[in-house]
């Protein structure tokens, strides 16, 4: 049996169809309104340097007493959790009765190159917690830490356990040395001191280039060839452009924080060993005794499931749960499955631990 059954005529016809779709899609691209991101009304409740702490507005009073603070990663913009009306973790949580706050780290510039993990975790996060807790008359609040923000949340909770009531981590790396972690593999022999001393802040373009080369065929070729398939669907096209904006709208990385994160977490895997030090204080995940929900994505190529699930082995909490999401690192925010499963999963877990 032949393995390829394609004739020259077929290829010509297929190429013609492809080019026809290109031409048909042209009108859609011309007429498409500029895409907007971040759909839910919000108010800034605290600012410091480039950080802004937002509270998302609710139409109705919350049905939960304890507010939820979302701590996002430094490496992308946090509007991914509120990308558009029908793809918004924030909107889904609001609909389930929660008060939701979000830390927007802003775009570090060269004057921020000396910001380290201590500044982010024991400085900015701590002051945001103080602000949110004070607004609600509480000592401790709920945390939803995402990706690197989840790692920060773990560190914070271990260092300031009295300030965190319940902790949810999402696509959060904990064991950085699992065999399938390409990101970690590639950074292992990087001279990170030379790197940061040379560059200062790590440019966003360099970070993006690095991420694209993790899957060079899919992310540089297949994705854009496939764009033709959706050119005639204005809604899908807008979704695509919105996602492109998010992917490439990346902040530079503050040099010192990058240095520490790469060295202590990616290269030396100190978090699982209990050896990370933030501001002179040792991060011992066994000190996390509050309920923990760890949400991971089964097809995550940036934070492989095992990298995330390692939390179960090292966390001190006796109330540790996992929620497996069938999808990837991006799909966990924006796929239609995510809209059905993630916020309701979080809600069910929190409700079971209310009171």
């Amino acid at each position: 049996m032949r393995s390829i059954d394609i004739t020259a005529d077929q290829i010509v016809r297929e190429a013609a169809r492809y080019a026809h779709r290109l031409s048909q899609g042209m009108r859609n691209l011309l007429e498409l309104e500029p895409v907007e991101v971040g759909c839910t009304p919000r108010e800034a409740v605290y600012r410091e340097d480039k950080l802004v702490l937002y509270r998302f507005r609710r139409d109705t009073p919350p049905t939960h007493r304890v507010p939820l603070l979302i701590v996002y990663a430094l490496v992308n913009r946090p509007y991914m959790v509120d990308l558009q009306e029908d793809r918004s973790l924030v909107r889904n949580l609001l609909a389930l009765g929660y008060e939701v706050y979000l830390i927007d780290w802003g775009y570090p510039d060269p004057s921020d190159r000396l910001l380290g993990l201590e500044d982010y975790i024991l400085g900015y996060i701590d002051r945001c917690v103080t602000e949110v807790a004070a607004r609600h008359g509480l000592q401790a609040i709920d945390f939803l830490g995402i990706c690197q923000g989840g790692t920060f949340s773990l560190c914070y909770t271990a260092l300031r356990p009295a300030r965190v009531r319940r902790l949810i981590t999402m696509v959060t790396p904990v064991d950085f040395h699992t065999p399938d972690n390409l990101l970690s593999h590639w950074t292992r022999e990087l001279d990170v001191d030379l790197f940061v001393d040379t560059l200062g802040n790590v440019p966003a373009d360099l970070m993006n280039f690095f991420y694209l080369t993790l899957k060079p065929y899919r992310l540089n070729l297949q994705k854009y060839v496939g764009l033709v398939d959706i050119l005639d669907d204005r809604e899908e096209l807008a979704n695509f452009l919105r996602m492109e904006k998010w992917i490439f709208d990346s902040p530079d990385q503050a040099g010192e924080a990058f240095r520490q994160f790469i060295r202590d977490f990616y290269q030396q895997n100190k978090l699982v060993k209990g050896e990370v030090e933030i501001g002179g204080e040792r991060v011992d995940l066994r000190r996390i005794e509050q309920p923990v929900l760890n949400v991971y994505a089964t097809q995550d190529h940036l934070v492989p499931p095992d990298a995330s699930r390692a939390l179960g082995r090292v966390v001190g909490s006796r109330d540790y749960s996992e929620l497996a999401f069938r999808g990837g690192h991006i799909g966990i925010y924006v796929s239609s499955r995510a809209q059905r499963e993630v916020a309701p999963g979080i809600d069910a877990w929190l409700r079971a631990r209310a009171g």
Binding site: S3, I6, I11, D191, D205
Partner: protein, 353 residues
């Protein structure tokens, strides 16, 4: 062509071009099927240049250029579309020269290889991006050395290294020493790049092998590939698998690390040269600014420490909170305490409501 035309004109023009191009593409494919001839010679070396759809895609690119919102995405998508269509054209030519059916084996592998070389990103694109024009003048010094990293390099390496080891002296001693360091760094980078490119080549080859394996499986399973797009997607899967296999190996990790480190060493030396130049012209430099930032950070920390002490003293005066709260508040405040609303709050830290 003027870009002032309205979109209606462009669309009509586009449609007419499309009709002409596909008519000629069809004729070309038929002619090739009869004679087995190759595509015409092309002056423009981009994929698809000189082929029937090329002018149409160029027209479209020009049409979108003024729209910044979609321009970059369109250009990127068009570049990929152009590559895919060019690949389809070549595939059609090969099929035409093979009795009307797409060939397999090495002929197909070469087709895929050409496509990948044209379409995959330049692994050094980012690095070259910061070689700004001003620094290119400095590059003139070491580029002849770096270019030797190819075939002629091995035989001349020892000779060059001997010259680079010569101890400099005289008024320009320090400058000469830096130049030598830069030349060494440049050579090291060229060598690291060569090792990295070799691994990328291996990944590509492995992708081809996986592709052939997948094709063989399709044949054995009685489910042949029936469209160019399906073939393309199969190649993407195979290419990615081949790449992941090579990129996950310990050797890749080492070579990748060496490459980035070599880039950074050279970048740092370039930065030093630029700083010397700036200082000579009385201009502020990155190092100088970093020094100011360090002092500023130390001052902020010192202020935070003082504010923490004040806060702790104030907290101790009235009815104290629980011991644990006080201790925790003090610990938090030590990093950068919140001042009470009645007192002056630093402009950088503001409560909004």
């Amino acid at each position: 062509m003027s870009e002032a035309k309205d979109s209606g004109d462009w669309l009509e023009e586009w449609k007419a071009l499309q009709a002409r191009f596909w008519e000629s593409f069809g004729r070309l494919a038929s002619a090739n099927a009869e004679t087995g001839t190759a595509a015409p010679e092309r002056g423009d070396q981009r994929p698809g240049a000189g082929l029937p759809w090329h002018e149409g895609l160029e027209l479209w690119t020009r049409l979108f250029r003024p729209r910044e919102e979609v321009g970059a995405t369109v250009e990127h998508a068009l570049a990929r579309a152009r590559q895919l269509l060019a690949w389809m054209q070549r595939a059609a030519e090969r099929a035409a020269g093979n009795g009307g059916a797409l060939p397999s084996g090495e002929d197909l592998a070469q087709l895929m290889r050409d496509f990948a070389y044209a379409a995959l990103p330049d692994p050094f694109a980012w690095f070259s991006a910061w070689s700004v024009d001003r620094l290119r003048e400095l590059e003139r010094f070491w580029q002849p050395l770096a270019s030797l990293a190819g075939g002629a390099w091995d035989s001349q390496r020892a000779e060059w290294e001997r010259w680079l080891d010569v101890q400099p002296f005289g008024l320009l001693r320090e400058h000469q020493e830096r130049r030598q360091a830069m030349a060494r760094a440049s050579i090291a980078l060229a060598e690291a790049e060569a090792r990295y490119r070799a691994l990328l080549g291996r990944a590509l080859q492995r992708g081809i092998e996986r592709f052939e394996e997948k094709l063989a499986e399709r044949g054995e399973n009685g489910s042949p590939v029936r469209s160019a797009r399906e073939l393309f997607d199969l190649w993407m899967d195979a290419g990615e698998e081949g790449f992941q296999e090579v990129a996950s190996a310990p050797e890749f990790r080492t070579v990748y690390g060496q490459l980035v480190n070599a880039q950074m060493r050279l970048r740092r030396l370039l930065q030093t040269e630029l700083e010397i130049l700036c200082r000579a012209l009385g201009m502020p430099t990155r190092a100088e600014l970093d020094g100011v930032l360090r002092k500023l950070k130390a001052l902020r920390e010192s202020r935070a420490e003082l504010e923490a002490r004040v806060a702790a003293l104030e907290a101790a005066k009235p009815a104290p909170a629980s011991e644990r709260q006080t201790a925790e508040t003090a610990r938090s405040a030590r990093r950068a305490p919140r001042t009470s609303p009645a007192k002056s709050r630093p402009a950088s830290r503001r409560k909004e409501s």
